[in-house]
């Protein structure tokens, strides 16, 4: 077995036996993530159901409001209570009532003469029951409007279409039946990059700063191996951990959405074809290598495990920034964005989920990320060429870029 093979076997054994790494790379995505999503769906549905059955009080301000609403049966579990406007607003603020309907005095008398009654509904978005009250009042007020309008049109012998010469009828052909691809395009890019980063960051710190702290790095570097071989084994190990974490997450997500996730009244399902899945995996590998290289280079500047962990927080933000940017409206995978490392991976995953990917963009993304991954490997390897990094890590950042220029 070559020195690299021996080192890789040692690193993999060390990582696989580390409970914290297993927790972050396997347990978190496989158990916690789908569990959380499922629990979230159940909680949302239970909450909506509970709110639907909750008795609500709606205050009516002025006799006209009470008379107007009395023309229709009240919504289920809803009681009207007359109050002055000031009393009603105070009660709404104290959450004693859910909404207020205010109709100006005397305006109802003008209704038969063709005048308009303005029914003001006061509610607050800070209060779920208030939103629910608005939802219950809207169809009642709409029905009152419709019946009054029908009467007016009939008295003038006009058709119902008279008041709507141009009717808008938006039909979303792609998503009206299943919101799965849309939700997947929002969740997957952020989630996959997060899991790649989380899966790679912990082993990167453990295998560099952690080894320095435990005094094991010294034992490796006095053996008959080059610093580059030592770093290469760590690089592959961290990339494998990152990939494994992302794949476990993808499988867990596939399982959750494949089985169907109940969100509100609809059940969301996502089914990716083998081609789409293969393309996702192909672009995840260079992304994992890029993240592994960055994490190792940064973690190598730390003297202790704790210091390494502190350095990983800004790195995590740097990695997640492109994933979040990919969610901005109008940001899509183009020839230009395909040249921005990590942003291109996020956008590619998004496009794959929506089924709008183009072959040229896939190629550009893969080439860009692979080249960046090579650069990250060089940066990580240069860190281990330096005596400063191997032992103290002090003044590390200057040394990192100084050693970057030296041939590895």
């Amino acid at each position: 077995m070559s020195a690299f093979g021996v080192l890789l076997k040692k690193e993999l054994l060390d990582v696989v036996r580390d409970r914290r790494t297993l927790l972050l790379t396997l347990v978190l995505p496989v158990v916690l993530y789908p569990g959380l999503l499922a629990v979230m769906g159940v909680i949302m549905n239970l909450g909506k159901e509970r709110l639907k059955n909750e008795p609500l009080i709606v205050a009516t301000v002025g006799p006209d409001a009470a008379t107007l609403l009395a023309r229709r049966p009240p919504p289920p579990k809803t009681t009207y209570q007359p109050k002055s406007r000031a009393e009603a607003e105070l009660a709404l603020k104290d959450k004693a009532i859910a909404a207020i309907v205010d109709v100006p005095p005397g305006s109802l008398a003008g209704l038969p003469e063709g005048k308009q009654v303005v029914a003001t509904v006061l509610y607050t978005k800070r209060f779920d029951r208030s939103m629910q009250a608005l939802d219950r009042l809207k169809p009642i007020l709409q029905a009152l409007n419709d019946s009054e309008l029908t009467g007016r049109l009939e008295s003038r012998q006009l058709e119902a279409e008279f008041v709507t010469p141009v009717k808008t009828d938006p039909v979303d052909l792609e998503f009206q039946k299943d919101l799965g691809p849309l939700i997947a395009s929002r969740l997957l890019p952020v989630l996959l990059l997060t899991m790649l980063a989380l899966g790679g960051i912990y082993p990167a710190v453990d295998l560099t700063a952690g080894e320095k702290e435990r005094g094991t790095l010294e034992t490796l570097l006095v053996a008959s191996v080059t610093p580059t071989q030592v770093m290469a084994a760590k690089y592959v190990t961290v990339a494998l951990a990152a990939c494994f974490s992302a794949l476990a997450n993808l499988a867990a997500m596939g399982g959750t959405f494949g089985a169907g996730l109940a969100l509100g009244p609809t059940t969301v399902t996502v089914h990716f074809g083998p081609g789409t899945l293969a393309m996702m995996l192909v672009c995840l590998v260079p992304a994992a290598l890029l993240i592994a290289g960055l994490a190792l280079a940064v973690a190598s500047t730390a003297r202790t495990f704790k210091e390494g962990q502190a350095l990983m927080t800004p790195l995590l933000l740097v990695i997640l920034l492109p994933a979040l940017a990919s969610q901005m409206p109008g940001v899509e995978l183009t020839t230009a964005t395909a040249l921005v490392p990590l942003l291109n991976v996020s956008l590619l995953v998004k496009a794959l989920a929506l089924g709008t990917v183009q072959p040229l963009h896939v190629v550009l993304t893969l080439v860009t990320v692979s080249l960046s991954a090579l650069g990250a490997l060089k940066l990580a390897a240069s860190a281990f060429q330096s005596e400063v990094f191997r032992f103290s890590g002090t003044d590390g950042w200057k040394e990192l870029f100084r050693s970057w220029r030296k041939p590895v």
Partner: protein, 195 residues
Amino acid sequence: MLSGLLTPLRGTSRIGGVSVQDQPLEARRHLGFLTASTGLYERLTGREVLQTFGRLQGLDGAALEARLTATIDELELSRFVDQRCGAMSSGQQQRISIGRAVVHDPLACVLDEPTATLDPLASRDILELVKRAQRRNRAVLFSTHRMEEAEYLCTRLLFMRAGKVVAEGTTEQLLERSGQRSLTAAFLHFAEGKA
């Protein structure tokens, strides 16, 4: 510098006739290295540590197995060699560390203050390692602040102060030249520049 961890500004060094500067990997195959700060992989078993470092030092197949058996027997590791290092006592860990340093039967050993943080029992293992190496005509570079250890082990002593050699010789020669009765007194004599 002998282990290749630090690059010398000038001069040369050889282990078993192999230049550390020109053939660092080959030179390191002839070197065993142990310091007070070197650690063990806590998630690997003692046997896995010995196998890994034996392979990294160029051993394989039957030769590796033979050296593993010899090291385990010589250092009496068989009772705990298949446990994970993290579950071993500090004395057992120390023995595995010694095994790691000598599993490839090096021509020379560098032991940099290996007993600095150890209790007397664990220190005894290190001292025995040096004695065994002496009996097999292996070179040992032993750095220590404990003069009783130096007196017990060393055939040739170098007193150093601020990175410079201030005296050199056998225990008897140093005592005679300094006119002192103990090695500690002799060291203080030379370190204070009285020679």
